[in-house]
């Protein structure tokens, strides 16, 4: 698939003896929604960390829009159009929700201007538009520390979206969110992403969410991709069922997961 927007080849990284990426090959086409599933510790977050420049792969290459981005700094990769959200929301805790998102909006609109207010009219308008898309207007003035988990997750993703990326990588956008809220959050999210034609990769533990929102699912296991394809196929693959989803079901039954 040479027309891929984002493409990983032979990514490898090990921490001590743990192979968190053991030859990852993945192609993501423009506009595609790809879900990543797999047990805890399989290397899903590590893949996002390598793609966004937080970790440098020990081997392999990552190409974005035909250009290599392997080993670039996070801020260089962001400027090319790859944004991410975090498994544990990373908000600016001294700021309000609107300020959190506005800082991201400002990041590519005259950030280095020291004499115009952050919340000037154009930035406020652009920020409010994003908050509206994510249903966050009612908490605009709330401090980041006062939000519940679902709202924190949404704010975290809204911050990434404010960068107007071509690709958005989301690390467990619905984890820690009550099941009842999950579909609401995903509806909001997917609506916003589709409206802007953003390509998305999201790590997900809930198979219902995967089936409903992913065009394709990639199954991670011990630093390798076990299977990849349409959800209907992959989620019924006996090997996947045995290796991953069985673990997932047990994992889900076991309640929340402590994981950084």
């Amino acid at each position: 698939m040479s027309g891929a927007l984002l493409s990983a080849r032979g990514l490898r990284i090990a921490f001590g003896g743990v192979k968190a990426a053991d030859g990852i090959d993945l192609d993501i086409a423009e506009g595609e929604f790809v879900a990543i599933i797999g047990p805890n510790g399989a290397g899903k977050t590590t893949f996002i960390n390598m793609t966004t420049g937080y970790l440098r792969p020990q081997a392999g290459t990552i190409t974005f829009a035909g250009e290599p981005i392997t080993g670039l700094q996070p801020r260089q990769i962001v400027r090319r159009g790859i944004a991410r959200s975090f498994q544990i929301p990373q908000l600016f805790t001294e700021h309000t929700v609107i300020e959190n998102v506005a800082l991201k909006v400002a990041a590519h609109r005259g950030f280095w201007h020291g004499l115009r207010p952050l919340l000037d009219r154009p930035t406020t308008a652009a920020t409010m538009a994003i908050l509206d898309q994510f249903g966050l207007r009612h908490v605009a003035e709330a401090k980041a520390t006062e939000l519940n988990e679902g709202t924190r997750k949404l704010t975290d993703i809204a911050m990434a979206m404010a960068l107007e990326p071509r690709v958005l990588l989301m690390d467990e956008p619905t984890s820690g969110v009550a099941s009842a809220e999950k579909f609401d959050i995903m509806d909001t999210l997917v609506g916003a992403l589709r409206a802007r034609g953003v390509t998305a990769v999201f790590v997900e533990h809930d198979m219902e969410v995967v089936e409903r929102y992913a065009d394709r699912v990639a199954v991670w296991s011990q630093g390798k991709i076990l299977a990849s394809g349409p959800p209907a196929e992959v989620l019924n693959d006996p090997a996947v069922l045995r290796e991953v989803i069985g673990v997932e079901v047990k994992h889900a039954a076991g309640g929340g997961h402590a994981h950084a």
Partner: protein
Amino acid sequence: MGRNLTLPTVLGIALLFGLSFLAPWLKFVFTIALAKGLAVLGILLLLRAGQVSFGHALYVAVGAYTVAFTRPVAGDVLILLPLAVLAAGTVGVLVGLFVTRYRDIFFGMLNLAFSMVFYSLLEKLYAYTKGTDGITVVRPSIAGVMLERVPYEWTMLCLALTLAVGLGLLARVFLASPLGQALPAIKTRETRLEFAGISAKRVLLVSYVASAMLAGLGGGLIAMTTLHVTPLLAYWTHSGELVFIAILGGGGAVLGPFLGAVVFELVRVYAAAAFPDAWQMILGAVLLAIILFASRGLWGIYEDLTAKRGVRS
């Protein structure tokens, strides 16, 4: 932020002028206090990013010595002050490129190290600096006019006040800008800033250079007011004093540094006269009380008092 500072500013200015008329020698105390306040305003910019410099006396001294060195060739305040700012800014860029790679205790200590190196240079290079004796500065002209001592002192007080108000306003605008708002973001989630495509180091460097220039300006004013400079200006206790004043005044608003500096200088002068052996203990106790009971400093106390009476704007 967002709070109306006009009333307290006007009251403060009126008070400074009133007291200076009643006790003329206070002109000198207040000019020094405002000069230090400018340096502390610089400290405040860095505090917003959660960084404490224990070496900013370096820039005060660079500003002061620039005035002392260039006074013989360029004798006007309007030339000397910009030169002091320029020199401090230049040193700020050079040192800043290095120290802004570090955070917290390393940032603080590296600043301290640079200031100590400069202190020893001032002490050791006797041929240029006259060592610990220091350099006497001949009173410069102001906009081409040579003034007698008393009108000179009044003019310097007015100049210091004008600079304090102007730069306080500028700092306020800066702190509300994306760059200024990125400072607390460095404190809370620096990596997230990087994931927005912004170099946190560069954000900190901008503030660092601004803080160096403010301290250099303060140093220039001090040299023109005391008319004598010594290496002590760069000594670490002087750096600590700036941090002390920042905490005393409080970082919630740009008036904090000036409030803190004026109170500090007054306490120092009066306590030193009344209790020559105990005034440092008094200052220590005051700082302890502030940290324990009013962590937002004197400005925070003022805010609480006025909020209760509903004088909010």
